[in-house]
């Protein structure tokens, strides 16, 4: 059969091809593949499948270099989500995904539908979602537009997850002018399943019906996938109607129905209709199963009259899934969905003939030979070259930057840093997220370096966290890529969990720019090195390119979503000091590193210097020390040193729990060869601040792993405040002043916002 145009189809012109984002070479490839001119419908299908978002055409060769295997990895990259075994027959499915472009245009719905999409990716594997995380990057909060974005995005994430009833338990947020105009919204979902329940999105079995499940198809978000592959420019505003609206209520029904459907054994495969909707879900399922498919657009349940096959295939209406069922079980499938007030409609069939065919009743509107529609896309390896500007910034001698007069008093500097939105408590955000629903949250947002969840019926627990310091990656991509993994692993290990595997979301600029592609290659390289060294393979992820606007690209931001396992969840350790009289132990060492620090950026407005060195052997040793000593019960609290350095980490340990604050008296005078500001605010890697339950045992374990460990002070009653002796000066602060700076900063910044009155921040009721 051959596809022929429908009455009223636009004529295929070079301009129309260009509008669909296809290069002339790509179009030639399409014509060769078909052996004829494409129909309009075929052009639409290919423009979606060969978009960056679906095809990974600029990133796939680089991604292939990442380590993806370990005995506990049950499913690596290539499926809806990665899956690892955690023993006892239990497995964890998890994945992170970006919704940057939709959120920039319509923050509330863009972020909400991002959460919806990643949830579906996890429950289509047969896993019950148990936790959500989110990683956000914004410009400066001084800008009303940024406050509007923050308000809408946070509310969108909260409303969706809260309504579905999945706790949002962790994440990370940073603010930097580099993200002005291009906020990053990465959402991660973690689910749990029994190993035997794992199901893959692989169409199989000739004659099996293909079923559309869930919401009806409307004209929402047509070409969202190609949209996500373009720079945000001024005329993006004209593309606004593409934005989809989420319905978390339907999602909740879909979640329950899907898990019931999988348990029923009636289905072969399930996939979310995400970016490029029906097109990509059906093509990807066919490709994995190496089978042909036929789909009849007249059978797809639609929300609006007169939708064309083109629109039906490319719609990104939310809360829909594509199911391949066993032949003859159609009624059983319908019955399960009907229980949840959802529809299921047979819209096609798995066929032996190796083609991807779309019909509208009896009219063939698209037909592609072969079953490799997605991977037959052209692959590119663009030129990669480091930008001269970054080389110069990195080479700058940041120690030559003079201190400000106010820094004479290091308490001033500390309170300034604690109120930097990047460091300050994110309570304003996570108070909008239900973090305790499902009653598994042992350590929620703000309580520990990573969130900890118990697993019912097991002694084990999971620790999860997202991280990435884009400023480090910008200034030295390979090192920044390593640090992103190392920091996420450290955060997870600080709760007592062994880091096990990662998912990642690669947020970069336009890959056709040599300096951007260089960042991409280097950062992924560094990430891979760290994953190998820390034994945390990559199980999946997502690439978001073209995060640019006329003023430039975002910082290269390879967000890491880390999953770790605690053997005994009752040992899970928080970051807050637990009471007076405990010895404070510093694991790791102090260095004279200030480059790329939050101190330079927030206090001096300087983004320069090399990021701190990241020695992966030492990171590994630190992690081993943390896991072993915490699981043995020798540790009362643990917090790693990250943005703001040791002084900020110590302050956070004192004030993190607003209801039970604890003072500390610390001496760092043995490092008097270092400048005080490097000692206090330098961001040397591989460090953590602990309080010991059993000091000799802790020191012994550190010694065994070759990790420097010293007692630097002890905890005191809250009334004693925080005091840190450094060479030549003394930092003393009341906990009240530290708390005011840290706990109130974000709320104060956002209270200038009018976003709480904005409509996007108000609907639905």
């Amino acid at each position: 059969m051959t596809a022929t145009p429908r009455a009223g189809d636009p004529v295929i012109t070079p301009a129309l091809v260009a509008e669909h984002g296809l290069t002339p070479d790509e179009f030639t490839r399409l014509v060769n593949m078909l052996g004829r001119q494409p129909t309009f419908t075929e052009l639409g299908v290919i423009s979606a499948l060969w978009s960056e978002h679906c095809s990974y055409k600029h990133s796939r060769p680089v991604l292939r270099t990442l380590p993806t295997k370990a005995p506990w990895v049950l499913q690596g990259p290539g499926e809806n989500a990665g899956v690892i075994s955690i023993g006892e027959g239990l497995a964890v499915a998890f994945k992170i995904e970006s919704h940057n472009h939709p959120s920039a245009v319509e923050p509330y719905q863009g972020a909400a539908t991002g959460v919806g999409g990643i949830l579906r990716d996890v429950f289509t594997m047969g896993a019950r979602p148990i936790a959500m995380l989110n990683s956000l990057r914004f410009g400066s909060l001084d800008t009303p537009r940024v406050r509007y974005l923050v308000g809408g995005i946070v509310k969108g994430i909260g409303d969706y997850g809260n309504c579905v009833g999945i706790p949002t338990v962790a994440g990370d947020i940073m603010f930097d002018a580099a993200y002005e105009g291009n906020p990053l919204v990465n959402a991660m979902c973690v689910g749990i399943l029994r190993e035997e329940e794992l199901i893959r999105a692989k169409a199989e079995g000739v004659g099996n019906p293909i079923i559309s499940v869930g919401a009806r198809t409307g004209r929402d978000g047509i070409h969202g996938a190609s949209f996500a592959s373009e720079d945000l420019s001024h005329n993006s505003d004209a593309k606004r109607p593409r934005v989809q609206v989420g319905d978390p209520f339907t999602e909740k029904l879909l979640l329950e129905a899907t898990l019931e459907l999988i348990a029923s054994g009636n289905v072969v495969a399930i996939q979310d209709m995400g970016a490029a909707g029906l097109t990509s879900s059906s093509a990807e399922m066919a490709e994995r199963g190496e089978v042909g498919v036929v789909i009849d657009t007249l059978k797809v349940p639609v929300r609006e009259q007169g939708m064309t096959p083109y629109e039906i295939l490319l719609s990104e209406s939310q809360e829909r899934m594509l199911v391949v069922a066993h032949k003859g079980r159609e009624e059983a499938v319908r019955a399960i969905l009907a229980k949840w007030d959802l529809h299921a409609e047979v819209i096609g069939e798995v066929i032996a003939e190796p083609v991807y065919r779309v019909v509208e009743g009896s009219h063939v509107v698209a037909e592609f030979p072969g079953t490799r529609l997605v991977t037959d896309c052209p692959m590119y390896t663009p030129e990669a070259k480091e930008g001269a500007a970054v080389i110069a910034l990195r080479a700058r001698d940041v120690h030559a930057i003079p201190s400000k007069p106010q820094e004479e008093n290091p308490t001033w500097t500390l309170t300034q840093l604690l109120s930097s939105p990047t460091i300050a408590s994110k309570q304003w955000v996570y108070r909008q997220y239900d973090s305790t629903v499902r009653t598994n949250t042992v350590l929620g947002p703000g309580a520990a370096d990573a969130a900890v969840l118990r697993i019912r019926g097991s002694k084990k627990g999971l620790a999860v966290k997202t991280d990435c310091n884009g400023r480090y990656v910008y200034l030295e991509p390979r090192v920044g890529g390593r640090i992103a993994v190392a920091e996420a692993a450290r955060n997870v290990a600080c709760t007592g969990a062994r880091p096990r595997a990662i998912t990642n979301c690669l947020n970069f600029g336009n890959p056709k720019k040599p300096e951007v592609f260089w960042q991409f290659k280097e950062a992924v390289g560094g990430m891979g090195e760290a994953c190998t060294a820390l034994d945390t393979p990559v199980t999946g992820g997502n690439v978001s390119l073209y995060n640019e606007n006329p003023s430039g690209a975002v910082y290269p931001t390879p967000t890491i979503g880390m999953v770790g396992v605690l053997d005994d969840v009752s040992r899970a350790t928080g970051l807050a000091f637990r009471g007076p009289g405990d010895p404070i132990v510093l694991l790791g060492d102090l260095t004279n590193e200030l480059g790329a620090s939050e101190y330079l950026s927030w206090i001096h407005g300087v983004v320069a210097g090399a990021p701190p060195a990241c020695d992966l052997k030492r990171e590994r040793a630190l992690i081993e020390t943390l896991v072993e000593s915490i699981q043995a019960g020798h540790v009362k609290s643990a917090h790693d040193c990250s943005e703001g350095g040791l002084a900020v980490a110590l302050a956070e340990c004192c004030i993190a729990n607003p209801n039970a604050q604890v003072g500390a008296t610390v001496s760092l005078t043995q490092w008097d060869h270092l400048p005080a500001r490097a000692t206090l605010f330098g961001e040397a890697q591989g460090r953590a601040v602990l309080t010991a339950a059993n000091l000799p045992a802790l020191l012994e374990i550190a010694g065994k792993h070759g990790v420097p460990a010293q007692v630097i002070g002890s905890t005191t009653p809250a009334t004693d405040g925080l005091s840190i002796a450094v060479s030549g000066t003394n930092l003393t602060a009341t906990l009240a002043e530290l708390s005011y700076a840290y706990h109130g900063a974000l709320e104060r910044a956002m209270s200038k916002s009018i976003s709480s009155a904005l409509p996007t921040a108000e609907v639905p009721a």
């Binding site: 409307g218 609206v245 939310q318 904005l758 996007t760």
Partner: protein
């Protein structure tokens, strides 16, 4: 002069209106089978000072454009302007 201006804000046609859908289905199950469609939006009653009704209307339109309605997903109508 003081005016009371009423504004209706409704989800744009064609954009998913989950709230309207839920209410429609609820009305059906309550026996109001004759209901074809419901859309749920916001009603704003704004009391404001202006020199004339036209000026009040223009000011409220500016408020809607700037803040009250979401240009991406909603349409608004200024339903009435009354002197009070």
């Amino acid at each position: 002069m003081k005016f009371r201006v009423a504004v209706h804000i409704l989800p744009r046609r064609g954009i998913l209106d989950p709230q309207g859908k839920a209410v429609t289905e609820a009305l059906h199950s309550l026996g109001f089978a004759e209901v074809a469609e419901v859309h749920v939006g916001r009603h704003l009653a704004i009391e404001t000072q202006a020199d004339s009704a036209d000026a009040a209307r223009a000011a409220v339109k500016a408020m809607c454009d700037k803040l009250l309605a979401n240009p991406v997903t909603e349409d608004f109508v200024i339903a009435s302007v009354e002197a009070v």
